[in-house]
Symmetry: C2
Subunit: 412 residues, 2 copies
């Protein structure tokens, strides 16, 4: 109790970032689990976000998309258990009330509030519940690491573990922190498979530059994972940077310090995105897809997405089947230029790769040895187009009998 | 992906400790949540543990108590969802099979296996399920931080967040890591309120000395918290230290380096214990109880436990009632020498304390102001016996209408 300790046994998380306090409470939307998360910065922060590409957009997305236009935010409020999607006017009123409750209680502009929801679609939004929950819990905001853990857990639905990341680095000798949380899909409930990512940093960066960094990093991380292949009505990744580290404000995309920050932000997003892929109860394998030698990064990423979304490829990986034909087939279907006669293809696990195609021609390989490799929980599929210098990487899960069973018995 | 990062966005947890790998899997005991945790050291480790004081002891406790006598352990295996308590011969066979499955799959002595179970009491133990789950998941053991998070989540039952801690410090210039996980009680399910704590370190320490440290630290941490006041049939705190830090083996209780380690271990245990108290869905406040000026530490701790277990004190705190009479009453019931005419008593929150008794005489105080203080989520009750130099500290939750409601509707 009065020990002089070198460090305290705190997990480094959201609350490690200067000026960030959090809370996660049970407000009764979900049975007996935390279902309201609040992440607050003591000063208004530069903010940027990306949102679902789905044509059907949940009410909180509409509100947050409007608010983020200012380039500033001070609080992120997220409820779990109800997605507030396909809820019509009642839902829009609820989303506005949610943002107002946070703004009024914190005495800040409503435009500084970002909101998100995840959970069941098409259920009336429990507005009173959420509004009262916000009013009652904002005074509990705390910078204790426990409060960060509460928040990380309060955004979960069918997830089997809380997804958190923390990193720090130096710019001009100034210590910068980045921390994030995410939620993904239990594959078992694809209609609830909302992907959320909330990242906070104490770096000082101008809003337009942050926006650019967020969009680029999301494209190489959250947008490169696939579990079900569907985009939910509620997907959202938001990043807020409150400047409390005290570095000189980053304003130029050519600034080395900006590039360093962007690298770290991308590292954080990739970490969180991979954790989402890891959390598929119905999946048995984590698969990294790499396309190299592409003419453009966009082509590489398009190929990665096409291969990783292929049910035939995913079931082959479940069955430990080095079925390169399906990979080539999925590549050909990607809608981008693709010449299979120049392709090298490698299959294997994290450590060992076996080349199965050279310039499109099948190589002799020890099929049993490769099948043994494919029993590993972490697989790598690497396709070299030999057509350029660009590459793309993505991550996905396999498609298993359990997945099909879970989905066929799930009837809401 | 090829970034030169200063640090990776990993949460520091069990897997940060040298030689420790983990896994947490869903093996089907609980519906759709992880329910098997494995914590493995690549070399046999010094080990010590404390177990429930309940007269009814679960089968895994019997097995682990026998195995820990060697002072060595290499793996901790814990299932959630079934407590293997009050399960008779079937349960004992199951517990032995659980330990054997781990030993055989890892090819280590059975005595190096510690097992624990948490969940429903009196249900037949799902031996096949657990044994197969162990066999299938041991090859997934990983030192990735994700695997540490899996393990932290796989020991939970009604907990609303995973409880983790990490700290590091130096001994003779050598870097030592300590990490731990714990589970507690949702207060809502008191008959499942098993308390588990698993702590790993890479320090080199002789088993008898570790045993001494663990017992002392548990007495000042896990044994000083109260949620329901009951001890479960399955409570267990185990610490394993594998020596991979490479420090000179600690052998003497007078060694300053041992005292430093013990301080850190106690800090870790207090951290985990407080997290357990924080996780009562039915509770609204976290209360710190301090008794100072006691003739002995034991008397101080006994008083703390008596006050913190008093339903009258706990409901008063829920009701923001500075009802010092109940605190004095609970102290008088503790079964230790107690002279209330020499007592100073202070009530308040973390920052501000109001003295309400001086040498047993009630002081004038602003009742409304104190009631406002008692609205805080973190309260402190400090009783100074003025009878010596020793002190004790403990932590507990308040007793709320929600708690009573939850418990009255729980009928399984």
């Amino acid at each position: 109790m009065n020990n002089q300790t070198t460090t305290s046994p705190m997990i480094q998380n959201l609350t490690t970032v200067r000026g960030i306090s959090c809370w996660g409470a049970h407000i009764g939307i979900k049975s007996m689990r935390r279902d309201l998360a609040i992440i607050y910065s003591e000063v208004p922060a530069s903010a940027a976000a990306t949102f679902t590409q789905n044509k059907v957009v949940a009410a909180p997305i509409t509100v947050s998309r409007r608010h983020i236009k200012s380039g500033k935010a001070q609080v992120i409020v997220c409820n779990a258990g109800n997605a507030n999607a396909c809820t019509g006017e009642q839902g829009m009123h609820g989303a506005e009330a949610m943002a107002e409750a946070a703004a009024n209680t914190l005495k800040i502009d409503k435009e500084l509030v970002l909101i998100a929801s995840t959970g069941l679609i098409g259920e009336p939004f429990p507005t009173d519940n959420v509004v009262n929950g916000i009013k009652e819990n904002i005074n509990k905001l705390s910078s204790d690491s426990k409060a960060g853990a509460f928040a990380a857990n309060a955004i979960l639905t069918t997830d089997t573990f809380a997804k958190e990341g923390f990193l720090d680095f130096d710019i001009d000798g100034i210590h910068i922190n980045i921390a994030g949380i995410a939620k993904g899909s239990g594959m078992i409930h694809p209609n609830m498979a909302t992907m959320l990512g909330f990242i906070v940093s104490d770096i000082a960066i101008a809003p337009p530059l942050l926006d650019k960094a967020v969009k680029e990093c999301v494209n190489k991380s959250f947008n490169m994972i696939t579990v079900d292949g569907d985009t939910s009505t509620n997907d959202m990744v938001a990043v807020i940077c409150n400047g409390l580290a005290g570095n000189e404000m980053l304003r130029s995309q050519d600034d080395d310090r900006y590039l360093k920050f962007k690298d770290q932000l991308q590292e954080m997003m990739i970490h969180l995105a991979k954790l989402i892929v890891s959390d598929g109860e119905g999946s048995s394998k984590f698969i990294e897809y790499k396309v190299s030698g592409a003419p453009t990064e966009k082509i590489a990423r398009t190929l990665v997405r096409s291969i990783s979304n292929s049910s035939l490829v995913k079931t082959a990986m479940f069955g430990r089947d080095p079925n390169w034909g399906r990979i080539i087939c999925a590549s050909g279907n990607a809608g981008v230029p693709f010449d299979y006669t120049s392709v090298d293809l490698y299959l294997g696990d994290e450590k060992t790769q076996t080349q199965v195609l050279e310039k499109g021609r099948p190589l002799q390989f020890d099929r049993n040895q490769l099948k043994r490799l494919l029993r590993e929980a972490h697989l790598v599929i690497h396709l070299d187009m030999n057509a350029g210098e660009c590459e793309g990487i993505g991550w996905g899960a396999d498609l298993t009998t359990d997945y099909v069973m879970f989905n066929s018995v799930y009837t809401t």
